[in-house]
Amino acid sequence: MHFLQSMSFLLDWTKGITPGMVLMWIIGGVLIFLAIKKDFEPALLLPMGFGAILVNIPFSGAIDQIYRAVTGGGSLEIVQEGIIDVLFRAGIANEVFPLLLFVGIGAMIDFGPLLSNPKMLLFGAAAQFGIFFTMSVSVLFGFDLRDAASIGIIGAADGPTAIFVSNFFQSKYIGAIMVAAYSYMALVPIVQPFAIRLVTTKAERRIKMRYSPKSVSKTTKILFPIVVTLIAGLFAPQSVSLVGFLMFGNLIRECGVLDSLSLSAQHELANLITLFLGITIASRMRAEEFVTLDTFIIIALGLVAFVFDTIGGVLFAKLINIFSKKKINPMVGAAGISAFPMSARVIQKMGTAEDPTNHLLMHAVGANVAGQIASVIAGGLIMTLIH
């Protein structure tokens, strides 16, 4: 009997387990399943799924635990730091991880198709409509303005921007926002065709666009990241670290004298940050914070953001077509969301499905990289407007 009592420490977990924790194990399992079986953003969803399990184990040593120790003079609170919370404070609370990831993303992006057809920049702007629409709808649903802005930024369709902005606003919903942002990015091939068909006719989807590639001088490619940083920095100063790090990565790529650094940023740096980003986000996926009605509303609002981004881009293209002789396939407008390069691929696929000879890929890529810039600027403007 004494032996069994002595061994009862092995059952301490039974005092801490809650139904919410078990639900989070299932949610973690679903995320891992989607990552492995369906190939949905595996680099992020798999670590997030595993992290969700890790932080929802009773008395998990992976997150901070507070113990009360009895001393001679009374009791003492002892904080035992957990690695996931340590990583959160070191990499997300101070916004280091999303910014470093942006150096890698900047180094990966070829802005050539956009520079060759700069009109596409405006589609990048139009496809941010969902951010502002969703922010307003979130307020309607009772979220305070800072949380609403963080929810709206799901429509940036860009993980690092969503982390940066929701962290700036100290949103308690960062875990749900990340799950929604990365899930819908993975679901772009399903969400976008649905939204595009809602607001286009078959004839519009069959509009042909000729692509006549024009080369862009190296000087322009080098000056582009510097100029974008200056303009975005002057007009939306809160965005300057995001835009600046994205453009810094791109300058490394285009300058032609830092190939080794460019490759490191594209591969080692981006991979290392990605490796820790997902599992660190799980710090905000604890059952007591995550298993709430608000989480489900946020996930639904994330869908609203993606749908209205897409609709915004398409309707803007249709508006341009009223005044322009050279017709634009409105589906290209939908590629103005930042989900790069999935969105461009979706538009190419939809274009060839309507007419096998209609190749929209390069136009869509131009709009898609414009969306990358516009989403960051939208994030910066939201932070400037609401603080």
Binding site: L121, I131, K214, V216, V227, I231, A232, F235, A370
Partner: protein, 46 residues
Amino acid sequence: MQLNISGFLAVLPTAVYGILGVFVVMALIYGVIRLLLAVFPRDKLR
């Protein structure tokens, strides 16, 4: 759940300024790119 209609109406101007702001900044970038392309002309496609 109660809908916060007054809050929604109050945030609408911010949302409109926000999307217009994105357009203004992107249009400026567009203008500067056109300028860059004109000053440093495109190479001939090889």
